[in-house]
């Protein structure tokens, strides 16, 4: 069976690409610290030596629209073009092309439907910055096949927070029951407190630092029950009008498991929002595969 090599949850800040590649007067003062944190975070994925990435994110009214809005959708295609004109325009994001892993996508769809998740699917999906941002931060070579999983955190009515957790738990079980010898990392991105297009946007910090502090604690300690006890579709309006993106973090807590302490936790307090990065190794800290092979070679 496939091995769950790493579980990673992250914010997806669309300005990272521009901040990290800018030079001279254009380079923001926080760029160097941000890049250093991202490079440490990237190492947590590199060390897990994944073969395939399941990428959990949310379309921001790019391909998915209100005339036909899925709650949860799996992309099943040999390739995924990525990033849209308005993301190039506003964030300077590059066009990208990622390979798809259709066999795992088919497995998630079949097994997910049989488990009671009425997953939508797309055979021609152009993915947006909710998935390309973590590719840029965690795997800039963009050389691994992916299975995109989109959630609706954006266009109400939304699924309940507990449904995100349940889907996360199911994704873990489905990955671990995939008949394959490959190493799979599940990477999901969301937000802590965030306001977009409202009176609290673009402040000195995220709109609700107290929510951010609690959220980081829930995630880092795997406190799913504590989180579910406090978070509801209604309560998420209070920390900021785009904070429902936190439910993708809750999905990732479901993948990582109740009570599972993250092996890597880092945050960065930026203007406008707090960045947060988490990595779990479900099977313990990864050992380099070369090291595991080398002694066997010597004994032959």
């Amino acid at each position: 069976m496939a091995e769950l090599a790493a579980v990673i949850a992250s914010t997806h800040h669309p300005f990272y690409y521009r901040a990290s590649t800018s030079t001279g007067a254009d380079r923001p003062p926080f760029a160097d610290e941000w890049v250093a944190k991202i490079e440490r975070f990237r190492e947590t994925l590199t060390r897990a030596e994944p073969d395939v990435l399941v990428m959990v994110g949310s379309d921001h009214f790019h391909q998915l629209w209100l005339d036909n809005m899925p709650q949860f959708l799996v992309g099943k295609a040999p390739f995924f073009d990525a990033n849209f004109y308005n993301e190039e325009r506003e964030f300077g994001l590059p066009r990208m092309l990622l390979r798809g892993e259709e066999e795992l996508a088919a497995h998630l769809l079949r097994d997910g439907l049989d488990r009671g998740f009425d997953l939508a699917f797309s055979n021609e999906l152009r993915i947006d910055h909710s998935i390309t941002c973590p590719i840029i931060t965690l795997r800039p070579q963009a050389n691994l096949p992916i299975v995109p999983v989109y959630t609706n955190i954006f266009a109400p009515p939304l699924p309940q927070p507990k449904r995100f957790v349940q889907l996360g738990r199911a994704i873990r079980e489905m990955v671990e029951s995939w008949d394959s010898d490959r190493r799979v990392a599940v990477i999901g991105t969301g937000h802590l407190s965030l306001e977009l297009g409202g009176p609290r946007q673009f402040g000195e910090h995220g709109p609700d630092p107290e929510f951010d502090r609690k959220a980081v604690e829930w995630i880092a300690s795997g406190d799913i029950e504590g989180c579910l006890a406090e978070v509801s579709l209604d309560s998420l309006h209070a920390p900021g009008n785009a904070t429902h993106g936190f439910m993708d973090f809750m999905l990732m807590m479901g993948v990582a498991g109740e009570g599972q302490q993250a092996d890597h936790v880092d945050t960065l307090d930026l203007f406008h929002t707090m960045e947060a990065y988490f990595t779990w190794y479900p099977n313990g800290l990864p050992q380099p595969r070369e090291a595991a092979v080398a002694p066997a070679a010597v004994t032959r």
Binding site: H62, L66, N86, E195, P199, R200, Q201, H237, N241
Partner: protein, 119 residues
């Protein structure tokens, strides 16, 4: 109240570079043209298969014609769509983050609960 149609306007303009410029330069003309020609376009169907019943209220037309992002927020237009499109049109006239901060300041009188954005 046609919150969905407001969102459809913002969505279809924001994703098209020519329409972004057209709406910046000629908001009244763009809104009138869009309501007549585009409002009924079902996005994955041929033009003959138009939706026949969608139209703006006069307040909605006015908010769009006047680039009034505060009124759009109060009507429950999706804040992400409005913000993205308005940044595309007006950020260029301001210093870094100046426009985004002014955009938020113009809404300081609005408190929770915000207008419903469900469609």
């Amino acid at each position: 109240m046609s919150r969905y149609l407001l969102d459809k306007f913002l969505y279809t303009v924001d994703r098209d570079p020519e329409l972004v410029e057209r709406y910046r330069k000629d908001p009244a003309g763009t809104v009138a043209w869009w309501e007549a020609e585009m409002a009924g376009t079902l996005l994955n169907c041929i033009p003959a298969e138009r939706t026949t019943w969608l139209s703006f209220t006069e307040d909605e037309r006015r908010a769009l014609r006047e680039h009034d992002h505060v009124a759009l927020f109060e009507m429950g237009a999706h804040p992400f769509l409005t913000l993205t499109l308005f940044i595309a049109m007006f950020e260029r006239d301001h210093g870094p983050l100046e426009y985004q901060k002014a955009y938020g300041r113009a809404m300081q009188h609005i408190s929770l609960p915000y207008p419903d954005i469900a469609t």
